[in-house]
Each structure stands twice: as structure tokens, then as C-alpha cells.
Amino acid sequence: MSETPSDGAETIDFTFQLTDREVSFDVDEDLYSPDAIYSAAYLFIDRAYVFLARPAERKVRVRLRTKAAATEAELEALAGEFANELLNSQLRFRIGRATAPIREHYMARAFFGREQSATIAELLAELDAEELAEDPLEIPVPWQAAPEKAPNG
């Protein structure tokens, strides 16, 4: 299958071959990382027999064979879903790489930051200090207020 959009746009080329119960197509490793290809392939293992081959340098041929009889339309749909998953995986890995320094920064702060270095004794002392501090607004707390004695007789 090939799609050629109108003038000025880049050509989108997704070509696949169909045979009985099988669809195969090539993936360019300059566009998709090995991680993305493996990730997409792994997701399809329960739905189809997935076979990877190396037809040329920087190319991976993906062959999907359905586990039961399939129509041509179903095979085309399978190839399309794989292509979508490939893009999804590629994006996920790219975002993961781009945000890695942020995650590492927060992990470093969580484990080694000064705020987290307080000992349990220090935390208890801080808690005690809060409890002992006088209430500047002198708001009575019901369970602390002394009950008034009723007048006798």
C-alpha cells in the first residue's frame, strides 16, 4: 500500500506484501529504534506469529502470520495496527529518553536531598514542639476545656 498526498507534502510510503494468512513489510531502523520494533512485535505475539528478518542493513522485515484463516482486509488491518503500535512505541521511548534527566533529578532529591535527611528523633522533636506551642488565638479545644461545675442546690 502506498499513499501519495498532494503537492508539497512528503510522500508517505507503507508498502506490504500479502500472501495466504501472512502480511510482511519492511521497517527502516533510521526511523524506528530497535526498542520500538521489538516492543511492537512483542505486543502482537498473542495475536499472530511474528517473525523478524534482516533483508538489508538498517532494515527489519516484519512478517505477521495469523493464527487462523484471515481475509485480505483483516491482514491489511493487522499491518496497519502494527504500524500504529510501532509509532506509539517509538514516541513512548523518545519521551522516556527526553524526560529521563527530570526523573533522575527527582529521584536524586528524594533519596539524597537535605529535606529527607532528618532522623526519626528530629521529626519527633519537631512534632513535640508543635504540640507544646501555645495557641496564639486561644481557641478552646473541647477535650481540653475543664467542665464547669454545676451549682449545688
Binding site: D35, A41, Y42, I45, Y49, V50, L52, R65
Partner: protein, 75 residues
């Protein structure tokens, strides 16, 4: 006649292929040829209940083990 399954050494790990052979050993006579570019699995006398699917199941198994045993690459 033996069926052949060629798995590229650049895509499938040797460990995954070896474990796949162990896992499917009871389902037929299995052999392995190792070339520089491919692991060649030879399958003969497959379990008749499996029909043609044995070779494809082995390919899936090898791929799954390759993926799960692999650490992410920086690219």
C-alpha cells in the same frame, strides 16, 4: 523432510534460541546450525497434533525470549 527456521543473529539472541530449542525438544527432532548471520533451526518429525504451527510457535517463543531478555538501547 526437515523444516528450516532461520533467525537472524542481529535480531534474535543466542540465549533465546537455545532456550527455545530446550522448550520444544519434546515436540519433534530439533537441530541447530549456527552461521555468522543466522541461527538455523532444523525441525523434523514434528508432533502430528501441531501440524505446521510448530515452526511458527518456535519463532514466537524465540522472539518473546529475545525481547524479555534484552535491555533497552540508547539510540
Amino acid at each position: 523432510m526437515a523444516e528450516r527456521l532461520e533467525l537472524s543473529t542481529s535480531l534474535y539472541s543466542a540465549e533465546a534460541v537455545r532456550k527455545t530449542l530446550e522448550a520444544f525438544a519434546h515436540l519433534g527432532k530439533l537441530g541447530l546450525e549456527e552461521r555468522d548471520d543466522a541461527f538455523v533451526l532444523l525441525i523434523s518429525d514434528p508432533d502430528p497434533d501441531l501440524g505446521d504451527d510448530l515452526i511458527h510457535e518456535m519463532a514466537n517463543h524465540a522472539l518473546a525470549l529475545t525481547v524479555t531478555g534484552r535491555s533497552p538501547q540508547q539510540s
